[in-house]
Symmetry: C2
Amino acid sequence: MSVLIVGSTALDSIKTPTAENPRLLGGSASYASVAASFFGPVNLVGVVGDDFPKRYIQLYKRHCIDLQGLQVLPGKTFHWSGEYEANMNNRRTLLTELGVFEKFNPALPDSYQATPFVLLANIAPGLQHHVLDQMRRPKFVAADTMDLWLKVALPDLLKLLKRLDAFVLNDSEAEQLTGEENVFTALKKIHRLGPKYVIIKKGSHGSVLSGPRGQFLCPAYPLRRVVDPTGAGDSFVGGMMGYLAAAKGPIDRNIRRAMVYGSVVASFCCEGFGVQRTTRVMRAQIEGRVRELERLTRF
Amino acid sequence: MSVLIVGSTALDSIKTPTAENPRLLGGSASYASVAASFFGPVNLVGVVGDDFPKRYIQLYKRHCIDLQGLQVLPGKTFHWSGEYEANMNNRRTLLTELGVFEKFNPALPDSYQATPFVLLANIAPGLQHHVLDQMRRPKFVAADTMDLWLKVALPDLLKLLKRLDAFVLNDSEAEQLTGEENVFTALKKIHRLGPKYVIIKKGSHGSVLSGPRGQFLCPAYPLRRVVDPTGAGDSFVGGMMGYLAAAKGPIDRNIRRAMVYGSVVASFCCEGFGVQRTTRVMRAQIEGRVRELERLTRF
């Protein structure tokens, strides 16, 4: 089955202590769509300016990502620029130019409205609502978010939580939302806000799922070297949704494996700038790392 | 088979934001011995002063810990006092009175010298050497350490690493020792210093083993509330060695499960002050949490 993915489509300029890469393909929807594309068809909803490089359109197409929902407006593409510290854990934003993103009004093509799996990747909760309003009875809806929306759009986000099957956020956002530093207490509190499945991402420490069949401690794939962690969280949730949409059987039975696949795609994402490493990955390499994670966690 | 455990035997006065507990039973060897005692016989090597409360001797005895190697010297027992911050991750030492510990010269009773499993719990590397010098061909030797010894006794510690089967340390100590923040790179570097098995502890994020059969990502048991994390690392390594000594078959095949048992005993340790919670645990409760960790990590 297909996944509809809405989120930001952007150009990222990323500095790390060892390198600088201007105008990479970025944005939550780009990372998530490339990640999901390994498992099945993706319908992308986003907006770019008329400066958006043709090579990135080609890149989406090579991944068989449907672009009917990608608006091209006159003006500049959303441009984010950031710098990482040596340990890759802390980053600071150098520049944010919203460009055409400011006017983004996601109107779904008719053909998208019955997509069974919906991923509301990180974007303003208002826009996430707007996309959901246009969907016809999706089978499974998941959303990601970021610290900014918890600060400036909390009422919208809280309303959104009641419309979701799954909510994905990182540990510091979970603390921000619940006031709880303990991940397992935070999970419990977030369930009360609506979602049946709650997933808290912990970066290199993996992620934790809480759902109707209990909790799952999902490992992160062990990486000896992180080149650029930008988009790892988006790749995780994109890979997870791609796997879920492609898998036969009930969500409940598949979601753990889906998280492991997401975790593996995220590990490839960290090994290169932007999506440079991810786009060169073969499905067999993903399967290889999933088997490795099985061996690494068995006891 | 038996485990010989050498380390500190102390009185701990622990302050947390919500409570204060003076003169609890503490010290690396106390925590590790209680943890190991769930699985089989323990020979304790340590020193206490003549102020050491009788009730703690009784406590050791209730756990069937052999005390022939526990010296009682005239003077004061080693006393440590510390305070935890609200998040339980940072603690600061308020007071350290070495007392009789300063004169500790571990002379092993004859009956201890052929103990097949040896745990050199956290104590000065010089004393760890001295104990090892008295052992007759032990089957398996593991050591723990702390940041202090990396600073003030590094040459002794490096010599010790060449005499060990397994070396256990936490993530910040691993970084201090190798200069590597990445856990997986640090593991590789520590192997080159001698030990066949290297285990890096990551607190609530679990631990990682590197050994001849590859790596193992050992989960931490999910706790909603930590009362006092003091001794969790000692309990982990004690539980692990206790399980290993009791298990049939090769170390290689048992060490993953041994770490999971250690992790579970450590989780109980965190749920009370000192060993207060651990000493009330039944073996069946340990088995229950091990099965839970199986369910929590399966995919």
